[in-house]
Symmetry: C2
Subunit: 466 residues, 2 copies
């Protein structure tokens, strides 16, 4: 089934006038604003939308959608622009809806460990807001992304190994659909068997089925104790095997992050980390009571010692922990700093843990064969890792070599029972891989898209090829 063709080109005057009447100067066609909204933090060439609308309410979003729907004008939702697969490019033109001004925390139900936020609230903002409550929201993709964007891309990050991803931590959504209908999905109960799980359908739908305007989130009590440790290993295999045995032993680590030698060297330089070598490294974090943290750490240290791990370098003070994890979060930028002027294409495969060692080793070999010096970093407790290709998008040969190597990496991950994307999403970059991974099931995805967005106005050109 072909999805309806999206309209391209400059904005229809009637649409432009209607949006201005609705939003005043919060609707703009200024070139600098459009350009800022035409790309994420990825290697895709920026493709600006025809206009940008800064919204302040679900009702405004619904009105914009109705105006656009009447004229079949594409709509691209925008949170913070930190996505990594061309999600915010506007290949068919249209209107970008910027939700960053919808940044209110609507309610915190401390006793029930949940909260409701507008989609533009950022991850760091919600945790600052919660600071005095003893609660936190754990999902942490590195970038200070918006919670709406994180829900839309089914984001996760460093501590998904313990706390899950946005899939597990979104309790409900307010959605504006392609015809302007507003619905609320899910609820505050911890479980429900009432009807189709629309929340999970929309989490990870990348703006292609509707626009998320509010998110109900699970929260967690801040653990009594949080302790981080760094451990360095003689080889990639030693580190990965430590991870595999740790997970198989059922240790509830909060974070277990791999950095290969190239990536660790980049982090040391970029984040001024002292006392470490440019060797394969695992960053650990343990959450729990004093006793539980000690017990977990003892188990992991025993496994690590068997694989030649160095002594654990502990950072229990909050500021030291923050510095360490900021360095981890800045790993992407540190990789970019290795070759200034280049852009990063990040692979994002995720495999069953037993296949992690061979998948990473194979990927490293592919990258080397393609002539790249690739930093590897990963949320390896989940079986998820990233290989960052530094490319000049204008250098066709270099880009082709990177894409070729990336394809080999994805094929190996799929052959090993894995997925082409653990957390970045399909976007404009992995549509072929989606078909390779899900086969006939993609025809069902296309049916759902066709039903909920018959004119293909919701973020067209992403996830499903038109």
């Amino acid at each position: 089934m072909a999805l309806g063709a999206a309209t391209a080109g400059k904005l229809d005057d009637r649409v432009s006038r209607a949006l201005t009447a609705l939003l005043g100067d919060r609707m703009t066609t200024a070139q600098a604003v459009r350009e800022h909204h035409g790309s994420g933090e990825d290697y895709f060439k920026p493709v600006p939308p025809d206009a940008v609308c800064f919204v302040r309410s679900t009702e405004e979003v619904a009105e914009i959608v109705k105006i656009c729907a009447a004229h079949k004008v594409p709509i691209i939702p925008f949170g913070t622009g930190t996505s990594l697969e061309g999600h915010v490019t506007a290949p068919y033109g249209g209107v970008c809806i910027d939700l960053s001004q919808m940044a209110d925390v609507l309610e915190v139900n401390g006793e029930d460990l949940d909260c409701r936020v507008q989609a533009g609230v950022r991850r760091k903002q919600i945790n600052e807001y919660l600071r005095d409550t003893g609660l936190f929201f754990p999902i942490d993709p590195g970038a200070d992304a918006s919670l709406g964007g994180m829900a839309a891309t089914r984001a996760s990050g460093t501590n998904a190994v313990r706390y899950g991803t946005m899939r597990e931590n979104v309790l409900g959504l307010t959605m504006v659909l392609a015809d302007g209908r507003v619905i609320r999905t899910g609820g505050r109960a911890r479980k429900s068997a009432a009807g189709y799980d629309l929340t999970r359908l929309f989490v990870g739908s990348e703006g292609t089925l509707g626009i998320i305007t509010e998110v109900q989130l699970r929260l967690y009590g801040i653990p009594e104790k949080m302790a981080s440790a760094v451990c360095q290993y003689p080889s990639l295999e030693d580190a990965v095997n430590t991870v595999i045995l740790t997970i198989q032993a059922g240790v509830p680590v909060a974070r277990i992050e791999l950095l290969n030698d190239v990536q660790m060297g980049a982090c040391i330089d970029y984040s001024k980390l002292e006392g470490y070598e440019a060797k394969t490294t695992l960053f650990y974090e343990f959450h729990g009571s004093e006793a539980a943290v000690a017990e977990q750490a003892d188990t992991v240290k025993a496994i690590s010692d068997e694989h030649g791990g160095s002594a654990f370098q502990w950072t229990a003070r909050t500021e030291d922990r923050n510095k360490l994890w900021q360095a981890r979060h800045d790993a992407y930028y540190s990789a970019l700093a290795l070759e200034p002027g280049k852009r990063a294409m990040a692979s994002d495969v995720c495999v069953p843990i037993s296949r992690l060692a061979e998948t990473i080793s194979g990927a490293a070999a592919d990258v080397e064969a393609a002539g790249f010096r690739a930093p590897i970093l990963g949320h390896v407790g989940d079986g998820n890792f990233h290989l960052v290709f530094l490319i000049d998008p204008d250098d066709k040969d270099e880009a082709a070599r990177a894409h070729g190597a990336n394809e080999l990496i994805v094929q190996r991950a799929l052959a090993n029972g894995g997925t082409c994307t653990g957390e970045h999403g399909i976007g404009a970059g992995k549509m072929e891989f989606l078909v390779a991974e899900h086969g006939e099931a993609v025809s069902v995805m296309r049916q759902l898209k066709q039903t909920l967005d018959p004119d293909n106005i919701m973020n067209p050109g992403k996830m499903l090829r038109p």
Copy 2:
């Protein structure tokens, strides 16, 4: 939008002949078999299908669906017949597909903590199969249900408070859709951001979007220590407040189950439990290392003591634990035994934990006002509880009083931010409540149903009113 009308009445001869050609004597119209397949363990009047097909493969299911689709004959999937909301009744006639002979464990990936089973594998069967591996599948709805049926109804049960529900524990599915297409959803990776989450869409779809023929499941290592305790309380409020504080303290209890005085009395009689009184009771279970179990138990005991709880009666021996939990699982049957000859209508609301005390107290008052002596039991760690109305379905006044009280209970749960069903599903019994709970979102559910099952042949008359 009206869903397509389903065909009623006796089976078309052409369908009958085609099914017999496919299945031989595994297709039957024998009255006793049809009657056995016309009801679950609930209060609904049995409505037998026109024929029953015992299938052995996904391919057979697909062939049956194609035959039925060509003649618009309804299809009702059947696992073990333990559902509680009329899910397996055949109000429009049609063909029941009995999956109980699809009972093979297809693969166990011990290192990755997952397995793949045919839909007819039962919960106890998979755990017996896994016994020597050190792994187990925790989801436990009480009944020895099939895993396909559990996925179809988004089942959970006693230890969802720690391990989640079928929503969190199904990694992927093989589905036969209404046009006979076979798709595989999900995968073995622990997380994925690849496309729409079809797995979660089909988990809980109650056979209305397709038939689940295989399930990929998460597994867990059997904890080093598992210990159960029973504690009795002066009042319902004391027990519920103990639960609330335990959950809010973040104690990872594996089970925390409430039985009110009526239910506890019924269990003592039915299961020959010794040493307990017919008082409000909590059954606890703790999983973890020796130290973790001790730490959890200490925290909970301190909370319990503040609420007048009795001394904990520990059962650490496996056989004692099993007896205790078998009694809990048999609670439903023990309630039925209170008034022999009657059938049980179980309410299944689930609310945010802070609202649990008032929701349960209000429900108890509603029930009393309606003239029933109702056992209450619940997976209260999730905010989920059941009230069992014992009714004679032929006694119209009694049934009306029970339905009236149940409606009040649901309204109160919804007003408290809860759901009309935590784990039993909508089926034929809660279609109005689904609309009350989800409002406009139900129109989206109807669109999805219409798209994937345009002739409304998949379990018609369930979840969405035709």
